[in-house]
Symmetry: C2
């Protein structure tokens, strides 16, 4: 990878660190509108494709059968911070499918939100799989399996019938072949597949606009993206980039993070899909690069996005010590 | 910067992320033994030079006047995790100088060690400046100022007489001119100066061996490095890279991290100094690159260092999902 610098970190007027990567914007017909770096290189999207992996939850009828609410449908697409509303949503979704926390196979970690983690500790409690940032997606998988009248046990395995539906939706949306040759294991133990960045952008162009999708799939995509854009707290949490951007932009953008510096976005009005991969895996840089591209393709929101495009760095005494800034190549000409 | 890849992060047999950077090894005469990337580029060393900034604490006689112990002297060089022993050391050092936590000007944050942070929360307490990862260095600055019979207030300012001593020591050790032209503000509010990576390595070659130093400075350097190598928990904490490596290597290496992907090391036996900067600021990569160079120049410790050179990545279910690995150019030929 010999990708260009996407984002610089400055301190005292000098560049302290810099982040290389690739970024691409495509329309729902696959036309490339913007491209920078090795955009045909396969990357693991990780959590960036959770909304695509949630399509079968809608299409199978499971979401309706179990009466999932819009916040719960949004939560199925989440990489959340383990705050109270998130834990409640996971509990509710599992309960609607007649299951409990024991059905979750994502593993356990302390809430990403430090205030919530310390509050949990202050109550003398320990975290459960409900607090895992992927518990929304996993609760959705359990609902999908139960909705298919399957035993959800082992749903994290590539060969489980529910996971096969999830993988098929991801393959169809990206137009890529997904098999053992490009498969790895994600942090929450489900399969993750290496997919060209351009194909990820195409998938989100389709997801955001319905372009190129059969009516049932387009309807499911609309239901998911509208649920997320209406309830952005459910897919992240306090202070999280995707949550904050969607709170600021309303229905103009769907934004989702993946681990290791991946971001995707969909712009329903223009039908564009965006995908970013920071080579070094830095989320801070992927966020700034994504904000720059959102501003470029949503010029009327450029002012609203300013604080995400050039975040200031302050130290422990609140002194401004530096900033992040996107490369000129990402900014509108 | 067009630096080479120093470290790759793999998942499922593919490279998921990669980290570029520069690394250099020099002897105390300034001879370059190893060089990779833009090693003459100036970087902010941040916390990597704390041991050099602690030289005046020894040389001024303040450490002896206040009866600082070896663990406390080590603690003056720390970027610690805010564990109980660290808070106790800061409290003790300040008390010996007749001061308290109010004298610290580093700001407040929760302990880096999550177990300690949650324990603090569980006791219904909030963090103080004692928990700041720089409280050891700052306690040392307060002791230095008091030992010079100065009011420590404002010691974080470049013009304070104590800070001028600190900057003079750093300038002499690196052989660089340090002034407002290369100055920025660190996370703990003291000045940090952009210094060529090669000069940082030279400073630590001198620090580790005494080579090229006047007798009094060589003695102060020996006292500091021996205190750190004898009490490595004091400069980091549970599970921290520098602490763990020094616990494993004993007196064969001094190792210290700086923010934004900087690491330095000194090898007292061979008199070599090592400096690493990961361009993107990633600590995980700087650690692996440093471990690779330590193994290269301490071949008898290569086995001991194996777990630091190729750390395995496990997910929330304990499944091995990938690894970090250093580039071939860093490994011994």
């Amino acid at each position: 990878m010999d990708d260009p610098v996407l984002v610089e970190v400055t301190r005292g007027g000098r560049v302290e660190s810099s982040h290389r990567g690739a970024a691409v914007v495509v329309d729902a017909d696959g036309g490339t509108v913007f491209s920078l770096g090795a955009v045909d290189q396969a990357v693991y999207p990780r959590s960036a494709v959770k909304a695509l992996q949630a399509l079968p939850l809608i299409e199978s009828g499971a979401a309706d059968r179990f009466g999932l609410t819009d916040p719960e449908i949004a939560f199925a697409c989440a990489s959340h911070s383990g705050e109270a509303a998130h834990v409640a949503a996971a509990t509710s979704m599992l309960g609607k499918a007649g299951r409990g926390v024991a059905a979750l196979e994502c593993g356990v970690h302390w809430p990403l939100d430090e205030v919530s983690a310390r509050a949990l500790a202050a109550r003398g409690e320990a975290p459960s799989a409900l607090h895992n940032n992927c518990s929304g997606k996993h609760s959705g998988f359990v609902c999908l399996a139960c909705g298919m009248d399957l035993d959800p046990a082992g749903y994290i395995q590539p060969g489980h019938a529910a996971m096969r539906e999830v993988t098929a939706a991801l393959a169809a949306m990206t137009g890529e072949r997904l098999d053992e040759s490009n498969r790895a294991t994600d942090g929450c133990s489900i399969p993750t597949y290496a997919i060209p960045l351009r194909s990820l952008a195409l998938a989100f162009a389709r997801f955001g606009s319905g372009g190129g999708l059969a009516p049932q799939r387009a309807a499911a995509a609309a239901r998911l993206r509208n649920a997320v854009m209406a309830h952005p707290f459910m897919i992240g949490g306090t202070g999280r980039f995707g949550t904050s951007v969607m709170q600021a932009l309303g229905t103009r953008a769907f934004v989702k993070s993946g681990a290791e510096g991946v971001y995707v976005a969909a712009l329903p009005e223009s039908g564009l899909g965006i995908a970013v991969k920071c080579d070094d895996g830095a989320g801070r840089a992927a966020e700034v690069a994504t904000a720059a591209l959102l501003a470029r393709f949503l010029p009327e929101a450029a002012e609203t996005l300013a604080r995400f495009r050039r975040p200031e760095l302050r130290n422990w005494n609140g002194i401004a010590v530096g900033a992040l800034r996107s490369a000129a190549a990402l900014e509108a000409g």
